[in-house]
């Protein structure tokens, strides 16, 4: 089926995902070929929560396609402060722009907003829900470094509140992957996500662990996320737990030489800086991939024959 919006990674089939990644690879190889492709196109940026990478890479992507952006700015300086609903805000900005990017603290915000607009809407994060454009750049990075089939991936850190994790785990069920989820017990995957993963797979491809040690040698990719201080009642508790989910050169001695280490960034101290210059580190490339991947998504959603649609789909 054709997707006019990008709300969750769950909506995308394997052919849909491959269409996006293939388009991103084409653009990555020759960005100048699309430099004017979306001239006079305006993208509306609606960020109700702070963002650096996602917002800037969307802005860069739209400008590299020849278009421009209009930005709502911070919530404090907008009419939202006066009590305007999200439904009203998106309907107003829709009239100014050709597509919308939305980040909002409430889960389901993008789903609801998409019901009020006709222009393409891209979810740039809805609370602890989904972050599908991050997932597309994560998949792009995994495909470049390790391939998406016969993949063994460890996903570590805050799996409970990490929306990048939820989106990525869903998307990976389209491929032949073994997913290991490594986290403290208090930050395990939400039962909703586990439910969905088991709906998609027979369960053999999904395992939960509290320690990295046992699975590290088998991993092709280790995807690290930040454990946030505010998830813990006190500093001591946080330090005790967080320390067990940090990696440095010594940790990686047990890993395969081909291991790819990823992180959606920003990191604090989950990955020691000494890893940055090793062949393991892919997190800066991963962040850079946000531009060609978001260019591909915007291009697909804004083209005349618009919508994300896998080639073998109906």
């Amino acid at each position: 089926m054709r997707h006019d919006h990008l709300i969750t990674s769950k909506q995308l089939s394997r052919p849909d995902i491959e269409t996006v990644l293939d388009r991103a690879a084409e653009i990555d190889a020759d960005p100048s070929a699309v430099a004017d492709r979306h001239a006079n196109t305006l993208l509306g940026l609606l960020f109700f929560e702070p963002s650096t990478r996602t917002k800037m890479s969307f802005e860069t992507a739209m400008k590299r396609l020849g278009g421009d952006v209009v930005d709502m700015g911070s919530v404090e300086s907008s009419s939202v402060k006066k009590g305007e609903t999200l439904a009203d805000t998106v309907r107003v900005i829709e009239g100014y722009t050709d597509a919308l990017v939305l980040r909002h603290p409430k889960q389901g915000a993008a789903t609801m907003a998409s019901e009020f607009v006709d222009v393409p809407l891209l979810n740039a994060g809805d609370g602890a829900g989904h972050h599908p454009t991050q997932t597309m750049l994560d998949l792009y990075t995994i495909r470049e470094n390790a391939g998406l089939d016969d993949l063994t991936i460890g996903i570590m850190g805050d799996l409970k509140y990490g929306r990048t994790v939820h989106s990525l785990a869903h998307a990976l069920t389209n491929f032949e992957t073994q997913q290991h989820f490594i986290s403290p017990e208090s930050l395990q995957l939400p039962r909703e996500v586990v439910y969905d993963l088991h709906q998609r797979q027979d369960g053999t491809g999904i395992k939960e662990h509290e320690s990295l040690e046992g699975v590290l040698p088998s991993l092709d990719v280790l995807y690290v996320t930040r454990i946030q201080r505010e998830r813990f009642p006190d500093e001591n508790e946080y330090q005790k737990v967080a320390g067990e989910y940090q990696i440095d050169a010594e940790t990686l001695e047990a890993a395969s030489d081909d291991l790819t280490v990823m992180h959606p960034l920003p990191r604090v101290d989950e990955i020691a800086p000494e890893i940055d210059d090793t062949d393991y580190a892919a997190y800066f490339d991963q962040a850079h991939n946000g531009v060609p991947v978001r260019m591909a998504l915007l291009d697909l959603l804004l083209s005349d024959d618009r919508g994300i649609r896998g080639e073998t789909d109906e």
Binding site: T85, L86, K106, G108, T111, M112, G129, E192
Partner: protein, 162 residues
Amino acid sequence: MSDDHDHHDGNDDHELRVSKIRDGTVIDHVRGGQALNVLAILGIDGTNGEEVSVGMNVPSNRFARKDIVKVEGRELSQDEVDVLSLIAPDATINIVRDYDVVEKHRVERPDVVEGVLSCPNAGCITTGDEPVTSRFTVLEDGVRCSYCETIVREEIASLIET
């Protein structure tokens, strides 16, 4: 289908505790203790003058105890019946006209319920001031918010919008 509306039931003695109605709906075989939730789902609180009779925890052939709800002057729509299935999956609906049961059917679980339950997740977009109607998909063993995807398996009746 068993035929135990109060006009024909072998349990007449018990069910006569609840008066017969002339025109309206009798919701029978509600699980014991759920009658008030049935009324809540139907938005019946007595303020509109409806004539309502409720029997709670009355002996039943099918269950040890059941509840029964009779609403005078109101025939339930299919949507209302569908929603009832979430908390009263075994209920039978009797439509009564001039003291006769003219229609009798079992509830069926719908695929989706809209505008009936409120999402228990405080972080869900539907819990704010947005002009959006709640929507839940019905799972085999619970319901799931179509917006934030929260799954609720227990105490679904506590989510009924009031």
